[in-house]
């Protein structure tokens, strides 16, 4: 079994959310439509829906995160679930066995959903294979593999600005593609939604070897890569990459790939600029762009809550209750 099949039930409905791979266009459209209908909740007198009342969501964060953890937490709370956030210090010795022990313990607390962030690729899928049948598992980022809710909040942000015709869009993803689970999930989501012009812009050292199979056009030059694009997705450049052999220096990287208002001039005038956060100002993009009129970075954070609410309600709704299993 591959991860794509374990996240679907016998009727092809989403019961875990581990990766975009293997999902059909309709799965993604359902998530986007459900999220769209949830975006208004924060403007109401009561910022809460009763949908997951009586359910318990455990956030298992084996890797630190602020934005993802807090928006998952808020999403669960806005659906009236009880939320438990467990920050589990990662030790280099953590093995499948200890991971499974953690899962068994949290399971014994009668939780209904695990939200998993882990430095190892495949961790969320591993947990999904071992949990009791009524528990839904959501991948909040696993190693370099996938970050599917980030991809869906990016797609929602794009759709809200550019409309539903993904096939007409040009999207550039700029930066450290090699280490980025966001880039992988974004590329898969854009492909599934029919976007035929997805570009990655990066130095050779920051591209994965399988880039040729991802359905993207590769650019090493930022000005060429940004020409006439509707959407620019910037990636975080982790500072530790610069101490290794992958990059010469921060200044040189910024000169070649740093996004400034001037560089952005070749994109379409109505292009939007996105970033999954946290941003290194002055490393991958200029502050003037981060805070500029084309930046939708804070909207991404807001949309992240609606998308996570949507995925939580869809997957938990598709889980059979324990009583029905008996």
């Amino acid at each position: 079994m591959n991860p794509a099949s374990i996240q679907l039930d016998a009727q092809g409905r989403l019961k875990h959310f581990l990766t975009i791979e293997g999902l059909k266009r309709q799965h993604l459209i359902d998530i986007l439509d459900t999220a769209e209908s949830l975006t208004g909740v924060a403007e109401r007198r009561v910022k809460k829906l009763p949908t997951l009342r009586g359910k318990t969501v455990a956030n298992l964060f084996f890797e630190s995160s602020t934005r993802t953890r807090t928006t998952f937490e808020l999403a669960a709370k806005r659906l009236s679930a009880d939320v438990l956030t467990v920050n589990i210090a990662t030790s280099s010795t953590s093995k499948g066995e200890t991971l499974l022990d953690t899962v068994r313990n949290i399971e014994a607390m009668q939780c209904d959903m695990f939200v998993v962030r882990h430095a190892a690729s495949g961790a969320a899928e591993f947990i999904a294979r071992h949990v009791r049948p009524h528990i839904a598992v959501l991948n909040a980022g696993d190693g370099r593999h996938a970050h599917p809710t980030q991809a869906m909040l990016d797609m929602l942000t794009i759709r809200r600005h550019k409309g539903p015709a993904f096939q007409d869009l040009r999207v550039a993803i700029v930066g450290d593609i090699l280490h980025s689970r966001v880039a992988r999930s974004d590329i898969h989501a854009l492909n599934v939604l029919g976007c035929a012009n997805v570009r990655v812009v990066a130095p050779r050292t920051l591209l994965p070897p399988e880039v040729g199979t991802l359905g993207v056009q590769v650019f090493h030059d930022l000005d060429q890569g940004l020409r006439d694009v509707d959407v620019v997705i910037m990636l975080r450049l982790q500072r530790e990459r610069m101490s290794g052999a992958l990059l010469p220096s921060a200044q040189e990287y910024y000169q070649q790939y740093g996004l400034t208002e001037e560089r952005l001039a070749v994109a379409r005038p109505d292009a939007i600029v996105m970033h999954p956060g946290p941003i290194n100002r002055g490393v991958e993009m200029a502050s003037a762009v981060v805070d500029g009129p084309r930046s939708v970075i804070l909207e991404q954070v807001t949309n992240g809550i609606a998308v996570r609410m949507a995925v939580m309600s869809i997957t938990l709704g598709n889980q059979s209750s324990p009583a029905e299993d008996a």
Partner: protein, 165 residues
């Protein structure tokens, strides 16, 4: 099978009387997706009410969520006015078990505290499972076991009785 326009006339007349009995002035119309919204639009014309119609999708308030899951065709709820202290006319196409109305009432109260809520339905088909009654009804319909009544539209509006699969 039914002359929809006449049913809506009957409903509008009953609603006028119910509003007068409650001395409810400046009421706000709120339709339940999807059929209730179509009927609310017709009622707005008939009653000559100013202002926009509110729309509710009660998917997130359903009591059978853990049994049937999320409705994939969920639409945004949109109440483009302040409910606080308003008289609200809640409109649905078919009143059956009362569970949709229960969910809609809960959702309405998350937007504010209305002065009152009146329930207007095009068709009351009986079969209540909750203590809920309509204040204005277009028609009472008796159905045989296993039959279902459905409103399609919006243009033209049509009521059809079908055997449940």
């Amino acid at each position: 099978m039914h002359d929809i326009e006449r049913l809506i006339d009957t409903l509008a007349n009953a609603l006028r009387a119910a509003l007068a009995a409650r001395a409810a002035s400046a009421p706000a119309l709120v339709g339940v997706h999807t059929g209730g919204v179509w009927i609310a639009e017709r009622l707005r014309e008939r009653l000559d009410l100013p202002g926009p119609i509110g729309t509710l999708d009660i998917s997130f308030y359903r009591d059978d969520f853990t049994r049937v899951g999320m409705n994939p065709q969920v639409r945004p709820s949109h109440l483009p006015f302040d409910l606080e202290g308003r008289h609200v006319i809640l409109v649905d196409d078919v009143l059956h078990t009362g569970r949709t109305t229960r969910a809609a009432l809960n959702e309405i109260f998350d937007y504010g505290r209305p002065a009152s809520v009146l329930l207007a339905v095009l068709v009351d088909r009986g079969g209540r499972e909750l203590p809920i009654a309509a204040d204005a009804v277009g028609a009472h319909v008796d159905l045989a076991p296993g039959e279902n009544i459905k409103l399609t539209g919006p243009d033209p509006l049509k009521l059809t009785i079908q055997k449940r699969p």
